[in-house]
């Protein structure tokens, strides 16, 4: 048996440890440029992401909609910090674990839930589904489900921004599995050569589907940037203030220098890769360890400890969010499916395209 294990090309049994997370920042929110009144709203945003997805999972299990459902639960500090630090017209693009980022950016829970349900009122008119949320008005460019395929798109968004001299930066999120794709390496090379104002962020949640990061990627992820002379670093994605601290610096630098940056965010997803994942590749202990420093609980504790708001005030927000999510479900359920004529809509911009029959 031991011999067999020695011979394995991809040995099993590796564990993702929370000790690999950078230490959380000790700085207070005011030092990081955040005002008191922002914090309860950020808590609301993070809790909305959490509650939305917990309810979405229930709806999925009830058979209210089909397709895949990849939950972001556990990673909400990353999206919340991103929209806090970026300007509203900076461009965000992400992968298929995308509900949290859309909600963080301000896409309404109703439009998000309706998209899951495949309704015409969804944020992609019911044509994208869970993995393809888009809200271009809010500079949210999707929602992409071929692993790594949107990394060049992120650089392309940045290229157009630089060309147009509009001062916007692009931020491109992907999972640790995407680091292994050729698209990342090709894009990094060109982004650095062409000095594109783009922040590449790998949300390293420890697993590429069911394969632990040590089993699928050689070396530390952020060091892939070194090969291209790209500035890079690591951030603690389980702590909102730590994320803000890092992003403050990174966004400022990218905006000023017009050069790319590769940020590895260490985070964790509590749920499976998708709804059909029993999670046999990790232990209960590991999951509990990460849950013990849940980003939303941490935010709540911080707000109360710093006397920015009372527990009662936060409980009120929780109640409001609960209702908001229930309203989103009602909205989705009561919305119409797309008209049949929509089948051929938006294939082309050309309105009289003669479809082949």
């Amino acid at each position: 048996m031991a011999k067999k294990a020695d011979e394995a090309f991809t040995p099993t049994g590796m564990v993702y440890k929370s000790t690999s997370l950078p230490k959380p920042t000790r700085k207070k929110h005011k030092t990081l440029g955040l005002k008191d009144e922002q914090l309860p709203e950020i808590f609301r945003n993070m809790y909305l992401q959490r509650r939305f997805e917990e309810r979405a999972a229930q709806m999925y299990q009830k058979g209210k909609f089909g397709g895949f459902l990849h939950l972001y639960i556990g990673q909400e500090a990353v999206s919340a910090a991103t929209v806090t630090v970026l300007n509203d017209d900076d461009d965000i693009i992400s992968a298929y674990r995308v509900h949290g980022m859309a909600l963080a950016r301000g896409t309404s829970p109703g439009a998000c839930m309706a998209e899951l349900f495949g309704k015409a009122t969804g944020c992609s008119k019911g044509k994208g589904g869970s993995m393809h949320f888009f809200d271009v008005e809010r500079h949210f460019w999707g929602g992409h489900a071929i692993v790594g395929a949107h990394i060049p798109l992120g650089a392309g968004l940045a290229m157009a921004n630089k060309y147009q001299k509009n001062g916007r930066v692009a931020i491109c999120f992907f999972g640790d599995g995407a680091v292994d794709q050729g698209s990342l390496n090709e894009t990094f090379n060109m982004a650095q050569l062409w000095k594109l104002p783009v922040i590449f962020v790998v949300e390293n949640n420890g697993y590429s589907m069911g394969t632990a990061v040590e089993r699928h990627s050689a070396g530390q992820l952020h060091k892939r940037g070194e090969a291209y002379d790209m500035k890079n670093g690591v951030a603690n994605g389980m702590d909102f203030l730590s994320m803000v601290e890092t992003l403050n610096d990174v966004v400022k630098e990218v905006r000023e220098t017009n050069e790319p940056y590769f940020l590895e965010v260490k985070t964790y997803r509590y749920r499976g890769h998708s709804m059909s994942d029993p999670g046999n590749y990790r232990t209960k202990e590991e999951l509990e360890e990460f849950r013990s420093f849940d980003p939303i609980e941490r935010m709540k504790d911080y707000i109360i400890k710093e006397k920015v708001a009372t527990k009662e005030q936060l409980d009120e927000i929780v109640e409001e969010v609960e209702q908001e999510v229930l309203d989103a479900i009602d909205f989705a359920e009561n919305s119409d499916f797309p008209e049949e004529s929509e089948l051929f809509e938006h294939v082309y911009t050309q309105e009289d395209f003669p479809f082949h029959k």
């Binding site: 008119k125 044509k127 650089a155 082309y348």
Partner: protein, 326 residues
């Protein structure tokens, strides 16, 4: 009107459009400092500079995708592939991103991008450098596909492609770049999806696009010596395809041969043949015939390559079959 090479016609289309619209850029391997692997982009770097004429590394997946991203966000990129055989490396960006993002976003995004470069065989280059991809691209909703056979068409069609707000696959040929034809300096465009009857005849309709159009012309000259007058239709656009022109012609000639440099299985010729049997069944006096490359990769050896590539004799044989002269 001056005679111009195919490569000059393509360059003129790009240069004239770039002078009018600052959002147009061109990227690809060797397009700038080297002035183009086939000299299509000669002089463009000097005129427009490195902000708009951009040399890329050999990273088809990467630069195709960066082009799509830039198109989503306000630019109108022209992506040159040194050949479409290399575009295979970047297909994910064309098939999954360029063709589908508009649809998946419910129409929030448009992707005005042209992917252009030589297609199909160019002599003895071996199997990986000799594939005709028009059938494959035309198969996919979200893409438009154009394939000019002559310099005049090339200029007018490329202008249309550049101005189009959807992704366009624009196919050329190494072996046609030096071909000359009178091309006006004045502004003109050729619409998408409109073919052209390039030789009138009453005995048989030959549908032939790209390099194969010229094979069809050679065959028609020979056939005329035997008293067979072929009508040649160059469809020019592969998608959408001008089926109406083909059907109308068959109503006159009652016979049809399709010449297609694709492989036979599920190629352009198969689809054109299907539409003809459905929409012109009652007008046909003989089963439709096709001339294609075989169901085999391109060989290197000269004798095998010549056997592999369609020639005028095969077209003549096919015409004789549909006119029952064999």
């Amino acid at each position: 009107m001056a005679e111009k090479q195919f490569r000059d016609a393509i360059r003129e289309a790009m240069v004239e459009e770039m002078r009018k619209d600052d959002s147009i850029i061109i990227m690809g391997e060797e397009v700038a400092e080297y002035n183009g692997a086939y000299k299509v982009t000669q002089g463009m770097y000097d005129e427009f500079g490195g902000k708009r004429v951009i040399d890329t590394p050999i990273s088809e997946l990467g630069f195709a995708g960066i082009g799509v991203g830039a198109a989503m966000n306000g630019l109108r990129p022209i992506i040159e592939f040194m050949t479409f055989n290399f575009a295979v490396v970047g297909l994910d960006q064309i098939i999954n991103n360029a063709a589908k993002i508009r649809y998946m976003s419910g129409g929030q995004i448009s992707i005005p991008i042209v992917f252009r470069g030589p297609n199909a065989s160019a002599g003895q280059l071996g199997a990986t450098h000799s594939v005709a991809f028009e059938s494959m691209y035309a198969h996919l909703p979200g893409l438009k596909v154009m394939y000019p056979s002559e310099p005049y068409d090339a200029k007018g069609m490329l202008k249309t492609a550049i101005r189009d707000n959807d992704p366009v696959i624009f196919l050329e040929s190494e072996q046609m770049y030096g071909m000359k034809q009178e091309v006006p300096d004045e502004e003109y465009t050729i619409p998408l999806g409109v073919g052209k009857i390039k030789r009138e005849g009453s005995d048989v309709t030959i549908v032939a696009h790209g390099k194969m159009y010229h094979i069809a012309q050679q065959a028609a000259k020979e056939l005329a010596k035997d008293g067979i007058e072929a009508e040649i239709i160059d469809p020019r656009s592969m998608k959408p395809f001008d089926f109406k022109m083909v059907i109308e012609s068959i109503k006159k000639t009652n016979r049809c041969v399709i010449v297609d440099e694709s492989h036979p299985f599920a190629g352009m010729a198969s689809e054109i043949g299907f539409i003809i049997q459905r929409d012109a069944f009652d007008y046909l006096d003989a089963p439709v015939q096709r001339v294609t490359i075989p169901d085999a990769p391109a060989p290197f050896a000269k004798n095998l390559f010549d056997l592999w590539l369609p020639d005028a004799k095969q077209v003549i044989d096919a015409v004789k079959t549909v006119t029952y002269r064999n």
